[in-house]
């Protein structure tokens, strides 16, 4: 039987269809809930995919997402009243980028658990510095953020989502993707075959921070009131790691699926079973990590093989 769609055109076609659906959703969605929910899911995807850009291939476990996300939030709080929304989001990304370059230059010589602890320390450090600044110098405790309607938040988040996916895709395909992977395997060997390991690491770390900062800047507009505790929530440092492992880091769509299912399940459990939410969630995570070391997407080749085998048997 002749195939109508070749496999080659099938995937981009499907992606385009999903994107068109997502882009036109506000036109026929009933009520704001679906947009708010989708914006939240997209935010988790953006954080997870941008985390994977750097930490996936190199194996440097960064716990800094909350720091960059928080920097984005404060950018929105401070610049939101003077700059248009688009400029605020870009500024959030840029400031996070610069911070990541600075932090990366200092810390990327640390390996393994030391790097993880330092990056987590960054979250705490910035939070404490801001608290100190707000209490002793500006005499405030929190800030109000200019409110933006849900549809705009949704569209900006969708834009960031598309940007992070394209970036992740092209880095993965480029020679720098290969270089990052070699750094993850044997950093020493990578340096001795001519890879400027420090530069590759610092720049990729910076690029991954752009999207976290931008996501923070747009999400801040939904919360209207922020303080350092809200902005630098340490949970947001751990969730991207969990979501990426949950989805599986072998493929680009792994973290996307992981974050989407994770975020939706969280929402579902939280609204339907608020008392058992954490318990159920914990059990799901443990089962996935125990039985699916390659994450949820590790299931796909397994099922595919089983199905393909079945078809062959029937012919």
């Amino acid at each position: 039987m002749a195939r109508v769609f070749s496999k080659r055109s099938f995937l981009p076609g499907l992606l385009l269809l999903v994107l068109i659906l997502l882009a036109t959703l506000p036109l026929y969605a009933r009520g704001a809930y679906i947009l708010v929910l989708l914006a939240a899911i997209l935010m988790y995807i953006v954080l997870t995919v941008s985390w994977t850009i750097f930490s996936g291939p190199t194996g440097y476990i960064s716990l800094a997402p909350a720091a960059f996300f928080g920097v984005g939030i404060y950018t929105a709080a401070i610049l939101g009243k003077v700059l248009p929304l688009f400029a605020v989001v870009v500024a959030g990304g840029l400031i996070s980028f610069i911070l990541a370059l600075l932090v990366g230059t200092i810390t990327l010589r640390l390996r393994g658990v030391y790097f993880a602890i330092f990056t987590f320390g960054l979250v705490v450090l910035i939070k404490e510095l801001l608290l100190f600044w707000e209490i002793t110098i500006t005499h405030t405790r929190g800030r109000f953020v200019v409110l933006v309607d849900n549809t705009t938040i949704y569209y900006v988040m969708l834009g960031i989502f598309v940007a992070v996916m394209l970036t992740a895709y092209f880095i993965r395909r480029s020679k720098y993707g290969l270089a990052l992977q070699s750094i993850g395997e044997y950093e020493e060997a990578a340096a001795h075959i001519g890879i400027n390991v420090t530069m590759v690491k610092v720049i990729t770390f910076g690029i991954s921070a752009i999207f976290m900062g931008a996501a923070g800047a747009i999400m801040a507009t939904r919360w209207t009131y922020i303080d350092p505790y809200v902005a630098f929530n340490p949970l947001l440092s751990f969730l991207p790691v969990l979501m990426a492992i949950f989805g599986g880091m072998g493929q680009l769509y792994g973290p996307v699926i992981g974050a989407a299912i994770f975020a939706y399940t969280e929402e579902l459990l939280l609204t339907k079973f608020p008392y058992y939410y954490m318990l159920t969630f914990g059990i799901i995570l443990v089962v996935v990590i125990l039985y699916l070391p390659n994450g949820l997407v590790g299931l796909i080749p397994k099922l595919w093989r089983r199905r393909a085998g079945g078809q062959r048997a029937s012919t």
Binding site: L178, A179, Y186, E188, I193, G194, T198
Partner: protein, 239 residues
């Protein structure tokens, strides 16, 4: 012409002199052997040349230019490639990609991906791994992983190749093949500096040999001179 030159090269680990005031030079087109008991400072000297470690004092020149203080990737792009005592191939990547990385990053000029693939395939053929180009590097035997490291190093288009115990852990047949490979590389015009414990290999392929002991140079000369040198024999046989 001297490709590589070291003057009073010194490196301390804490209070211990791992390499102490070593003078050496490697001539264009020769195979230069570096031997000595365990802990003599051979690998440390390699790490100093390739930039993995920074010298305490002294100077190392490559093609007349000082390379001390340069980063490993800069030294590689100038034309010094190396392999590792404990193999460091990128295990989860296919064999071909290991070599491609060397081509893409190790040379000063960029090349198209088609040309790079063609060249990588050629290099795999040269070291005898063409049949395994799609295999993940971790699935190769030790001997083949060592060949892959050589191919990856050659991909960076070196003038000087540093081989750190290429023959360690290989069986006699594999040692013979490795010796053949080393001479083939030299015949391409690449100068070789090699650390080796397999005496048969070092005596057969090297033009000159330097002996290190406790970080100091105790002898230098042709294989024949080294084999009859009294100090060297004493150290190796413990007389």
């Amino acid at each position: 012409m001297r490709v590589l030159e070291g003057e009073k090269v010194t490196k301390y680990f804490g209070g211990l002199a791992a390499v102490s005031h070593v003078d050496f030079h490697v001539d264009q087109g020769e195979i230069f052997g570096l031997i000595g008991p365990n802990g003599a400072g051979k690998t440390t000297l390699f790490n100093l040349i390739s930039g993995a470690l920074i010298l305490k004092s002294g100077v190392i020149r490559f093609q007349g230019e000082k390379i001390t203080g340069l980063k490993p990737h800069q030294i590689c792009r100038r034309g010094v490639a190396r392999t590792f005592q404990s193999v460091k191939v990128f295990g989860n990547m296919p064999v071909l990609q290991n070599v491609l990385l060397g081509l893409m990053f190790g040379t000063p000029t960029a090349m198209s991906s088609a040309a790079a693939t063609r060249e990588a395939t050629g290099l795999l053929e040269f070291v005898g791994l063409s049949a395994m180009s799609a295999t993940p590097a971790k699935d190769l035997t030790l001997a083949n992983q060592k060949r892959l490291e050589v191919a990856r190093a050659l991909a960076t288009k070196p003038e000087l190749l540093l081989l750190d115990e290429l023959m360690a852990g290989l069986n006699p047949t594999e040692v013979a093949q490795a010796m053949e490979l080393v001479t083939k590389i030299r015949d391409k015009g690449i100068t070789i500096l090699m650390i080796e414990h397999v005496m048969k290999a070092i005596m057969n392929v090297c033009d000159r040999i330097m002996v290190l002991h406790h970080g100091e140079k105790i002898a230098e000369g042709t294989p024949r001179e080294i084999a009859t040198n009294k100090t060297v024999v004493e150290i190796y046989l413990g007389e």
